[in-house]
Symmetry: C2
Subunit: 716 residues, 2 copies
């Protein structure tokens, strides 16, 4: 059977899993009337926000779609629209499941920890499988249409451009969703904490706080919908880039062309199956180690994926893993002879076995990143405990130590990524790096499942609190939620780590495209060319500027929330007395407007920067230097963005869990000096880890993709 | 007369200025007995610290000197020792002037603002001129000895290696001094604030606080001695690198060889004269605008330097500014023809006028960086005010807004540096960039004067407080000190900005050396080579790891201070009652030990990293990729380090002045909610701006220099 068709079928399996499991989740008891009322308010707020967000994005999207269609042709325009719409759909469905599973998790937690875990994790798994499944379907169906119905050859320019445009659509929506959702969730969270916990002295999730529903809405639109769109984007870009690189580098493949183009899709497909199997292993097994249950599921998926990927490669290559597959230029390796005779030789072939081993590198890298993130954000290890200890001497030392940990936390992931690059490159050159990235993303279903579980349990705790359920329920949801900070940090580390590899693949596509479109241009990408330095510096600046905008936006919007809540408290004394209900919708509406307004300019930064840099340097120093600066810009973004994103996401997670660790009774426990300091650290970490940090991932990809599209448009 | 001799004479002028002015300063009244007693304690503590620091550094220095001498020869070993010793001397003299000028400034401020300003600024100017003068003398005398007494040709390998070794000595001492001093000053500052202001509720500089003397000692050993060593290093490396690049790139100069080698020295020399003239323009002129008085001095120096540099170039080139000077390869420029015929051409010549215009670029860049830093750290502009405003809603929002500003503050300096690179490169290729960097550093005397003024006024305020002088005196010293935060941030921005250019010059020296030492090696520095990516990533990691270590060290040492002070308070109730005196020396001793211990490992990071990366990649992928990765490491350090350092230094300055702005009565003034939050921000900013951030500058240079020496050692 056709490999693409098999991939489509496997993608459909994920969607079917999603529908079946969502029936199970929705069939569970939704708790008492008060719980349903609260959940209804959250649901309403989340839907209102997403509707407004997607309307705004839609306008930008239509403009960009028209530009893409006019410059690159109608097929690319359609690709862009598919990517954009499905990215939105992934986020929308994830959010919809999440806002219904939260109240059911709270209800299930009344029966026991395992019941609560099962429900929340299933809800996460639905989002996970739908993200992976829809992403796979988007590329596979579009590719199938182009090569079957439209009759293009698999490596024709029109197919390549259309795949890049598809990725662009996914990325553009994703950055808006990540940033808009990130600003919403953290503005509401920080604002609610400042005015509730700090000023009014009422606990988190207290129903008297007018911002409490906005805070819970934020979990769903930011941590769930935004994250889902982000991972959808990462999946589409990574698998798409691997296919594009295959088309660009591997010529004269003959009968192997179609299988090699379809192989990344098939790897994605088989790993959907291993991910689904893994979800069933997430069980406490009698204990109470929630993180351990999660790991069991992930580990089973990862281990099963090894033979599954081997099988996929074996099948695609017609049962032959050892014959060399020729390529134009996979890069250069040092031939390793003694100095006098030494020289570099182009890698011109690889075997199926090389691809398999490169894929294993990706799996190992995923495991390493999870393990490192757990170390830096888990309450059982030095980093979080050092922040907790530093909290004893106050706000200042808490923040200093948190910043120190956030800087430090970049080291091990960087070394792991560098190791992954070296090993996969030695195996199969650029194609090895592409396959390492692809196999990382193939596990997306499982990783997203672990992450999407977080906001469900977070909301469940909020609902339990607001509905006045028994203390024991809140304890269970807290136990479930405690691992949420780590799994959230894991996903972000995973996404940015894979982005590191994917961006290298995109950069290779850029240089290959350049050689194809402008064969007469002699572009000097050497570090000795000052325009390369200029590009690196400007690229490195982007994540900083982007981060600054995101942080400022959260601060500003949170300030608006504080003012709104103060006004509500002042206008109606009954709110604090508990006799009258605050106007939750007004706060939700305010945050919605602020988030939408604030997301536009930073999201357009990575779209416009490559264009401005290209034309700027073109005017000053001619086209060849403009191409060199643009290429360097792409690498500057990834080199700097990797560190900015890793430090922000791990640091934020560590601050959050340092607070949790103190709340568990260490260093004086709740309401101690250390606890007040830890609350400050948590507040600082919020926009770090949930707004600016994770949005750097789509930002890196957009910069790279816009550069690819710019080349195609210039050549057209 | 010989250009080198003229330069030596001009260097001596700076030293003479220093001696004459220090007699004036030391001749001023030293206040009453209590003031002298306090000043004596600070002096004693500072000397004890520096003695211990230099002893420790001395041991490391001797080991490294032996290694340098054994691998590169005795001349290089001597160069290393000269650089190391003079770097230490610069810091030592600066500190010695500072600890004597502080009490005299407090005394002078009793007479009036202008009197206080004159004394404090003269003290700063002494340090400034000695830093510039000693740096110039170090290179000029050593170069004169090598080319006259030892009889080497100006561009001989032994001369080049010796100049690089001289720079290495300066850099190595400087990183220890910057980091050790930075840890000392901030551990004492943060510790004193935490336990004094926050816990005991006593004001800053209260004599009952046992850490108060340590805090004042810190200003002298960190902000003065550390800063002086840092700028000494920056000067030596920049001027030295320009000379090395001249020797490497410009062959067959004939009679022009010696003048071209000596020209950077002459530019440094004439700008010492313009700097001295500028110091006399620092006058209030009846008003109270201290910053305005500073600017008058700087502006006069900058404006006078334009004709002075033009004259120096005209004189060195025998009155001819228009004849092209040939070079081997100054880089490539795009010839700018229409696309079809386009291509890049090597720049092979430049004129004296080109060098002059490149130098003007450096002067303009210095002015721009000062202006941008003032914008980001001055109390009159949006950034600081936005942090102050965010403080109203508490600690968390203060820190969030501060981090946002620190990220944002990297943008304009980066654009200015990029502009400087492009323009100077278009003028004279790599030589243009080198001259832009040299003319930046030529103003070091004036810039250091502005900076070294800060700790003097800071200490003066402390002494006035502790000695119980009239409120009006403290008001005047506060007015003088207020601009100190901005001038301190200015110097750091200036140093790191110049490092951006200097590192490019060093990288050019690396590639040129590589071609000379290993002509058969075909090193691929292209961004398409994955080992280049690996090098960029590992290089970018270094400032993060280094920053993490510095921040952690401050947090840990500050915690020790808190414990020590708590113990002293507990053991003797008379301290808080004001009846018995705390044991200041014990706290000074504790911070000294902690700072010395903590500075070692991070300082060795940039020394060892290039060596580890080279041999690591050599084992994995052969020598050519090892050279490529090492080169990329150098650029990775500068690209990432630039942003880390800029964001930390500007952000820290902004936090500090936001606190000052609130203390001036805005947003509720002292002891308001906003003020408490601003104190937290200030505490967080302390290790950012005074420990981790500024030490990144020598770190970048050390990495580059070690790579150059490694090449020479491998070829030997």
């Amino acid at each position: 059977m056709d490999l693409v068709i098999i991939s489509i079928v496997l993608g459909l399996v994920a969607v079917i899993y999603g529908f079946v499991t969502s029936r199970q989740v929705l069939g569970a008891g939704a708790g008492n009337e008060r719980m349903q009322e609260i959940a209804g308010a959250i649901q309403e707020g989340a839907q209102a926000y997403l509707k407004r967000q997607y309307t705004t994005i839609g306008i930008v999207g239509i403009v960009v779609a028209v530009i893409v269609a006019l410059t690159l042709g109608i097929t690319s325009g359609v690709g862009f629209v598919i990517g954009a719409i499905l990215s939105g759909v992934a986020g929308f469905i994830g959010m919809n499941i999440s806002v219904r599973a939260n109240v059911r998790t709270a209800a299930a937690a009344q029966s026991g920890l395992q019941q609560g875990l099962t429900l929340a994790f299933r809800a996460g798994a639905i989002t996970g499988m739908l993200v992976a499944g829809l992403a796979l379907l988007a590329i596979a169906v579009f590719f199938w249409y182009l090569t079957s119905i439209a009759g293009h050859a698999a490596n024709e320019r029109e197919v390549i451009d259309a795949l890049v445009a598809l990725a662009f659509g996914a990325s553009l929506i994703s950055i808006f969703a990540r940033l808009g959702g990130g600003i919403f969730t953290k503005a509401a969270d920080v604002g609610a904490d400042l005015v509730g916990k700090v000023e009014a002295g009422i606990p988190e999730d207290d129903p008297r706080n007018p911002a409490v529903i906005a805070d819970n809405v934020g979990d769903n639109v930011g941590d769930c919908a935004g994250m889902a769109a982000d991972l959808f984007e990462t999946y589409v870009v990574t698998v798409g880039a691997t296919m594009v690189l295959t088309a660009l580098l591997l010529s004269d493949l003959g009968d192997l062309l179609m299988p090699m183009m379809a192989l990344p899709l098939l790897i994605g497909g088989v790993c959907i199956v291993t991910s689904i199997i893994g979800t069933y292993a997430v069980r406490l097994g009698g204990g109470t180690n929630v993180m351990g249950a999660m790991y069991k599921g992930f580990l089973l998926t990862a281990v099963l994926s090894v033979p599954a990927i081997l099988g996929a490669i074996w099948f695609a290559l017609g049962g032959d893993l050892n014959t060399a597959i020729g390529a134009e230029n996979l890069g250069n390796v040092d031939v390793g002879a003694p100095l006098a005779e030494e020289g570099t030789a182009a890698i011109t072939s690889f075997t199926g076995l090389d691809l398999f081993l490169s894929s294993v590198v990706g799996l190992v890298l995923t495991g390493l990143i999870i393990w490192i993130t757990e170390y830096y954000t888990g309450t059982g290890f030095r980093p979080v405990r050092s922040i907790a200890k530093a909290s004893e001497t106050g706000h200042g030392t808490n923040v200093i130590q948190g910043l120190a940990i956030s800087l430090e936390s970049t080291a091990l992931p960087t070394l792991a990524i560098v190791g992954g690059i070296i090993v996969s490159y030695q195996l199969a050159g650029l194609m090895g790096i592409a396959y390492a990235a692809t196999s990382m993303l193939a596990l997306a279903g499982m990783v997203v499942a672990l992450d999407a579980y977080g906001p469900v349990t977070d909301n469940a705790g909020g609902i339990a609190e607001m509905a006045g359920l028994d203390e024991s329920v809140r304890e269970k949801t807290d136990a479930l939620d405690a691992v949420g900070n780590t799994t959230k940090a894991v996903t972000k580390g995973y996404a940015i780590g894979s982005a590191g590899l994917a961006a290298l693949v995109l950069f290779a596509a850029y240089t290959t495209d350049l050689a194809e479109f402008f064969p007469e241009a002699d572009v000097d990408f050497s570090l000795e060319n000052p325009y390369v330095i200029v590009g690196l510096l400007l690229g490195a600046l982007l994540p900083y500027l982007f981060g600054a905008m995101g942080m400022t936006a959260v601060g500003r919007a949170a300030g608006d929330v504080v003012k709104d809540v103060r006004e509500q408290f002042a206008a109606d004394k009954g709110i604090m007395a508990g006799t009258s209900r605050p106007d939750y919708a007004r706060t939700v509406d305010l945050v919605t407007k602020a988030a939408i307004k604030e997301m536009i300019i930073p999201s357009l930064l990575p779209v416009l920067a490559p264009i401005v840099v290209y034309f700027g340097i073109l005017l000053i120093a001619g086209q060849e230097n403009a191409f060199a600066a643009l290429g360097a810009l792409l690498l500057g973004v990834i080199v700097s963005g990797l560190f900015v994103a890793l430090s922000m996401t791990a640091g934020g997670g560590a601050w959050d869990n340092a607070k949790k660790y103190i709340e568990d009774g260490n260093h004086g426990g709740k309401n101690s000096v250390a606890h007040h300091a830890a609350v400050t650290g948590d507040t600082v970490g919020d926009p770090y880890k949930d707004t600016a940090g994770p949005a750097v991932n789509p930002m890196i990809k957009i910069t790279n993709i816009v550069a690819l599209l710019l080349l195609a448009a210039l050549a057209a």
